[in-house]
């Protein structure tokens, strides 16, 4: 007698959009519940905490502005990462590419001597090139020598951090900064306009939104995008079809690094107006963008939403710090939890459980 089985587990070929959405939301909710335990441990009702966060990050003018401001670099980096991830290039180096973009922008702003009207465009171009360069090094190493991309991009992050530190402590330390480790303030022609009293540097925001759309079109509608997808989904088929994995790898990192570079330009030209300590230029935007891109299932358009979501989380972190006196580090706990639940939930999506009474 064959045993009765109540349910079967089958592999699901490709999860539908609905399933993905549902599982993702469940993952986030699960993370919220677990994080809620921390709030309780601090004597704060979890519900009240989340209410405050939502109200603080979305319900007030200030909060909304902060949310958007945080979302801008996440958007740019995230879109770039979706492209890289599509080709299975694990770009953990967005943080470093962002910093290189910031360095290039600072260099142009302070030392290029260009006429005012050319400064900002030159800064953006320089930022793109610098970020792309930083990303192309690991790309070339992988494409040509087969060297692991996770490690190289990660190492490049640290080299970038020390580069910035060297610059602000040494050759680029601003003479007017009285010995403090900052560059001089950028000339005002080199600073980005912001929406009235907020800190939303809208040119970068518009750039990010436009690039999200363009990236989507690239992936879906162009030949290059097709090649990128094939390389990522079926490298053997790609080789068979004569698609150059070499060129594709370089292309995706040119884009991904360049976009992260844009984010760096935005931060120093829009928020800080000088080059400063690397940990103040980027609050782990490059790493958070990985989650942003992951959650968006590598769809550049969806990154617009996920980057906003993480903007809410970061702005929410500020809220809990200011209003509840809770440590900002809770944001890290939160991000870690969401990430774990997300990747844990992947398995739910890959397998389908069907209930039936059947003899096997």
């Amino acid at each position: 007698m064959k045993p009765l089985s109540l349910f079967r587990v089958e592999r699901r070929p490709v999860p539908s959009g609905r399933v993905v959405l549902l599982v993702s939301i469940l993952a986030i909710l699960a993370a919220l519940v677990v994080a809620g335990i921390f709030f309780q441990a601090y004597g704060v009702s979890a519900i009240r905490a989340y209410q405050l966060i939502v109200k603080g990050a979305l319900g007030s003018k200030l909060g909304l502005a902060e949310t958007v401001r945080r979302a801008i670099p996440l958007l740019l980096c995230g879109v770039g990462l979706t492209i890289a991830f599509r080709a299975l290039f694990w770009n953990i180096g967005a943080e470093g590419q962002l910093l290189l973009g910031a360095v290039a922008a600072a260099g142009v702003a302070l030392f290029s001597g260009l006429p005012d009207v050319l400064l900002l465009p030159a800064m953006f171009i320089a930022g793109f090139v610098a970020g792309a360069f930083w990303g192309l090094i690991p790309a070339w190493l992988k494409a040509k020598l087969g060297i692991n991309d996770v490690i190289t991009t990660l190492m490049m992050n640290y080299i970038a951090i020390y580069l910035v530190q060297w610059l602000i402590h040494g050759p680029w330390r601003g003479p007017t900064m009285r010995g403090f480790a900052y560059t001089d303030k950028f000339p005002s022609a080199a600073t980005l306009p912001t929406i009235s009293w907020t800190r939303i540097h809208w040119p970068t925001l518009l750039l990010g939104l436009a690039l999200a759309v363009l990236a989507y079109l690239l992936i879906i509608r162009t030949r290059a995008g097709f090649e990128i997808r094939v390389v990522g989904e079926n490298p053997d088929a790609a080789r068979f079809a004569g698609i150059s994995g070499f060129k594709t790898t370089l292309l995706v990192m040119l884009i991904s690094g360049g976009l992260a570079g844009f984010a760096g330009v935005g931060e120093v030209a829009g928020i800080h107006w000088r080059l400063l300590s690397p940990t103040h230029i980027s609050m782990n935007y490059g790493y958070t963008a990985i989650i942003v891109a992951w959650l968006a299932r590598r769809n550049p358009l969806v990154v617009i939403i996920t980057s906003l979501l993480f903007g809410v989380i970061m702005a929410g972190g500020d809220v809990i710090k200011v209003s509840l006196g809770l440590p900002f580090q809770l944001v890290n706990v939160f991000n870690g939890l969401i990430l774990f639940f997300l990747i844990g939930s992947e398995i739910l999506m890959r397998y389908k459980i069907s209930f039936s009474l059947r003899r096997q």
Partner: protein, 309 residues
Amino acid sequence: MGWETWIIATLSRTLAYGTPLLLGTLGEIYTERSGVLNLGVEGMMIMGAYAGFSTAYTTGSPWLGIMVAALVGGAFSLIHAFASITLKANQVVSGLALTMLGLGLSGVLGRSWGGKPLPVPISKITAPGLSKIPFLGPILFEGQNLIVYLSILLVVVMWYILYRTRIGITIRSVGENPATADSLGINVNRVRYLCVLVGGILAGVAGGYLSVAYRPAWTEGMTAGMGWIVIALTIFAFWNPAIGMLGAYLFAALYHLSFRLQPWVTPEFLKAMPYAFAIVVLIAVSRGTLQKRMGAPAALTLPYTRGEE
């Protein structure tokens, strides 16, 4: 200052600062040799630092602190093991999440522990007779502690296990070719779990060492990126415990020298060295045959499922 005193001072500091690097690297070597990439070393280390300190502070026993640090590091690593081995999730993402979680959790929990002096730290050892041995004496036997010695012993043990025992062959085959290992009856996932656990325990001890022996005190974020250096060192070591020891001590020496030589050498240059070196090493072994002998385990970051190769 004569040459001799220079070298003695440098090597003495190298041992002190290099021990957490060494412990972390040994652990990550085993983890990666079995085919699992664990980028969560920083998170495990700092959790170990916090757990070690708080335990040592409240119980008055620093060794209990180290043990708890080991347990906490191990427990943390199991999260990553579960996610990447059983759930076959992406190892890169899982490791990053672990780091975030560790940094965040230790920052939240450790808030009120900052700045407190540890009443009973791990005692420094000065062996009366041995410390008189010229040259080696002052380096090895003056002012170091038991964990430093244990870590050196550990290098020998772990090297031996990896290269001269059946267990070592098992680990290495699981990392190079899990399908073959599986067909030989080896439980691939179990081996991987154990190796990840070893990595977690050692990372926890490394963190505990920092807060209970080295400093001894707790400060938020006190590992300051040591976990990432460990990841770089693992590569630099060609996944070999003996070279790992050389690498850990080399970088500890560079760190010390970045202060000692500050009047003459830009410190940022020396600090960026470990990371640049790791890339150089990877380039150096990328040539075909060298790759096979000294390169990364072939199955690194690839989850294994029977029948799905």
